[in-house]
């Protein structure tokens, strides 16, 4: 309808098919945003605009949803996104100390990416293994009972991987 051409971003055929399948179903937006994030690692603005056009949902609503849920990311994370658990158990066991140490080691704030694009740090709520508190997740790997002194080693392990 508007003069905005379909936003300039390629969706894989899998993603396009998924959107077509879910287009008319209620509650589709969250499902589709999940899929978008799976494809890009985050939700690029162009992708949000394209979803807006394809579903005829205002961009405002997409951002409302995407910023409400902690899971969705609007900025591209580092190649290795370090998630530090701040659930109750991990928080009590020193989760915050881990965050601060990581920030100082990597020289970035929360939700920021290192200049080389390798690392980013974010906090998450309960990973589901409170017995291992404090817990940290990098990629698919879970680190339990983490101590500050271990952090340089863990970072080194992922650097340039």
């Amino acid at each position: 309808m508007s003069v905005n051409a379909i936003a300039d971003i390629e969706f894989s055929s899998e993603l396009t098919d998924f959107i077509t399948e879910w287009k008319e179903k209620p509650g589709n937006l969250i499902m589709i945003l999940h899929k978008v994030q799976q494809e890009f690692g985050f939700i690029p603005r162009e992708a949000a605009m394209k979803v807006s056009e394809l579903l005829d949902v205002p961009l405002a609503k997409i951002y409302g949803v995407a910023t409400f849920y902690h899971f969705f990311k609007l900025k591209k994370p580092g190649k290795h996104n370090i998630q530090v658990c701040m659930g109750t158990a991990c928080y009590l066991k020193g989760g915050q100390d881990l965050v601060e140490e990581l920030q100082s080691l990597l020289g970035v704030e929360l939700e920021e990416v290192t200049d080389d694009g390798e690392f980013s740090i974010e906090t998450v709520r309960c990973v589901g293994c409170c017995g291992l508190a404090p817990v940290m997740v990098v990629g698919d790997e879970v680190f339990g009972k983490v101590e500050k002194q271990q952090l340089p080693e863990i970072i080194a392990k992922f650097r340039n991987r």
């Binding site: 605009m49 405002a60 910023t67």
Partner: protein
């Protein structure tokens, strides 16, 4: 109306079934404080100020969102309720900057009033004001998220009432903030500058761009001839800022106030409303009878609507009347016709418009046609609220002013010109003149009841000498989409258009409830302002635009005939598709 019997603070009351506790209590004369609630909007229940107790129920309810039921016993006030409300208020105050004395809403702020009513003397909580920069990207609206109390009114107005979706909540919990759609600055969103957000904001978080200093500077510039026009809707609303009733007609006092401010020439946009009718009425008749353009013809006086159409319905551009809005016509003839008549160099004229509208600030620069005189046809726009502030600041006792007259030769107006301020008014004024153009005689009854009233979309058929002219009138932007779809569908199916003429105004009730009008507009206030405008029409000796003597004169002396080459040069414009998002 089915009713239920309830008790409010022990007193029996028969109230409308399905109404909220808040409405029922207010009707029964009990005050429940509210902050996020606004009668224009569905209850949002975000602030929690309106909590009440229900006897026999362990939890408190939010009166704005809970409905009454048979036998319910409501308690609206007791020491515990008061303490809870006060705590809620203190929490809000702890996140709100403490600079009331420098705030634009000082004296008109709902939060300030509530703090006064509750007798707040200190806030026991640590101050936690969000550090978010002010958004000054728009030429119409300023957004200061620091002052935002997250009541959600602006977002709901923008999405529900206006269907624009320029604003949204970003984030959650105590990190929630209002932001432009997609978290960009306002000017890069689909914002149509209608300003309804600013008219509904309870505090100083979102407000009109203040240009009052420009008028003072112009007045104090030697050799600059300051010519000011006032819009139809201003005259029935500005009095409210000085304690007068909504709907009271203050035209003469506004003229007088402007002269006391030091303005050189006082004109009336109503004159140009008559001019618009001459141009648009002629355009309509020509499209209808000679097929010179797309039918339905759609009105284009409302700059928020034209902006919306250019973004959301660019395929409707051929349907738009090319006639400029009254404000822009008045500006154009001020710097051409008036300049010639009064023998003033147009370069030395400062043309100012007082408007009920924030989008009018944008309209002055929306395209090159807005400089048809070779200069800015309108140099800047002040809203009704800004003029009221200026009058107060300059120590003018508005209510005590005498009633003065506008200046010639572009100040006289007909009743048709004044009703432009109401929803349906442009249509009615156009019908009065179009009828004359087609039949050569005037309507026996000039009032067109079918297009009056507060219904979101009004449809009617007018018998013009045996021909049925189908018209539709929409106000409140959210009512427009379906109407446009009707037209699009008929076009796609190759059917006869459902209407010949459509009027759209972005704001509910029309310009009388524009985004730049005095605060605290509700449907009751709208109704009074609408009545005021119709009274102004009834009191006019001339009821039709084509009979306004100054209109007859400007065509004789300057424009030739409606839709002439000269008229097109100064009084018409064009539209272009625009992107919804600039980023």
């Amino acid at each position: 109306m089915s009713t239920v019997n309830i008790k409010i603070n022990g007193i029996p009351a028969e109230v409308e079934a399905g109404s909220t506790i808040l409405t029922a209590a207010r009707k029964a004369g009990f005050k429940i404080p509210t902050l996020c609630y606004h009668p224009d909007l569905p209850a949002w229940a975000s602030c929690g100020i309106c909590v009440v107790k229900i006897e026999g129920s362990p939890k408190m309810l939010r009166a704005c969102a809970a409905t009454v039921s048979e036998g319910m016993s409501v308690i609206t006030q007791d020491p515990e309720i008061h303490e809870i409300r006060k705590t809620v208020l203190e929490l809000i105050l702890s996140t709100h900057p403490n600079d009331c004395l420098q705030c634009l809403r000082n004296g008109q702020c709902e939060l300030q009033t509530m703090a006064a009513d509750f007798g707040i003397r200190e806030v026991p909580f640590e101050a936690r004001v969000q550090e978010i920069p002010r958004d000054e990207s728009s030429c119409s609206i300023v957004f200061n998220p620091q002052k935002c109390i997250k009541c959600g009114r602006c977002v709901n107005v923008c999405q529900q009432l206006q269907d624009v979706w320029a604003l949204e909540f970003i984030g959650r919990g105590d990190g929630t903030r209002m932001a432009g759609a997609g978290d960009v600055v306002l000017n890069e969103t689909p914002c149509i500058k209608c300003g309804q957000c600013s008219a509904h904001c309870p505090v100083g978080a979102i407000y009109e761009v203040d240009e009052t200093h420009k008028l003072l500077e112009a007045i104090h510039t030697p050799d600059l001839h300051v010519a000011v026009q006032i819009a139809p809707a201003v005259r029935v609303a500005i009095g409210e800022a000085f304690g007068m009733e909504p709907g009271e007609i203050t035209t003469g006092k506004i003229y007088a106030a402007l002269r006391r401010l030091g303005v050189d020439a006082v004109f009336d946009t109503n004159f140009a409303a008559d001019l618009t009718i001459m141009e648009e009425g002629t355009e309509f008749v020509s499209r209808l009878t000679k097929g010179t353009g797309a039918i339905p013809l759609i009105t284009s006086c409302c700059p928020a609507w034209t902006d919306y159409m250019e973004k959301y319905f660019p395929d409707m551009i051929p349907h738009f009347s090319t006639a400029k809005s009254p404000m822009m016509m008045q500006g154009a003839v001020t710097k051409t016709y008036y300049a010639q008549k009064a023998n003033i160099d147009p370069a030395k004229i400062c043309s100012v418009a007082i408007m009920p509208c924030t989008a009018k600030k944008y309209e002055t620069r929306r395209s090159d046609n807005m400089q048809s005189s070779g200069y800015n046809d309108v140099d800047f726009v002040l809203t009704t609220r800004e003029l009221a502030r200026l009058i107060k600041a300059q120590g003018i006792e508005f209510t005590k002013l005498p009633d003065e007259k506008a200046d010639s030769p572009i100040g006289m107006y007909s009743g048709a010109g004044t009703i432009f301020g109401n929803t349906g008014g442009v249509m009615e004024a156009a019908i009065r003149t179009a009828y004359n153009l087609i039949t050569g005689k005037n309507l026996e009854k000039v009032e067109v009841d079918a297009v009056r009233g507060m219904e979101g979309v009004k449809r009617g058929a007018i018998n013009v000498d045996g021909t049925e002219v189908r018209v539709a009138v929409a106000h409140g932007m959210a009512n427009v989409r379906d109407l446009m779809k009707e037209v699009q569908q008929a076009r796609e199916e190759g059917k006869e258009p459902p209407y010949h003429f459509i009027e759209v105004m972005a704001c509910r009730g029309g310009c009388i409830a524009g985004g730049g009008q005095p605060y605290f507009t509700t449907d009751e206030v709208r109704r009074k302002r609408v009545e005021g405008i119709y009274k102004d029409d009834e009191a006019s000796t001339v009821r039709c635009s084509h009979e306004n003597p100054e209109i007859i004169e400007i065509y004789k002396d300057f424009l030739g005939s409606p839709n002439s080459h000269t008229a097109h040069q100064y009084l018409h414009t064009e539209y272009v598709p625009r992107p919804l998002y600039r980023k």
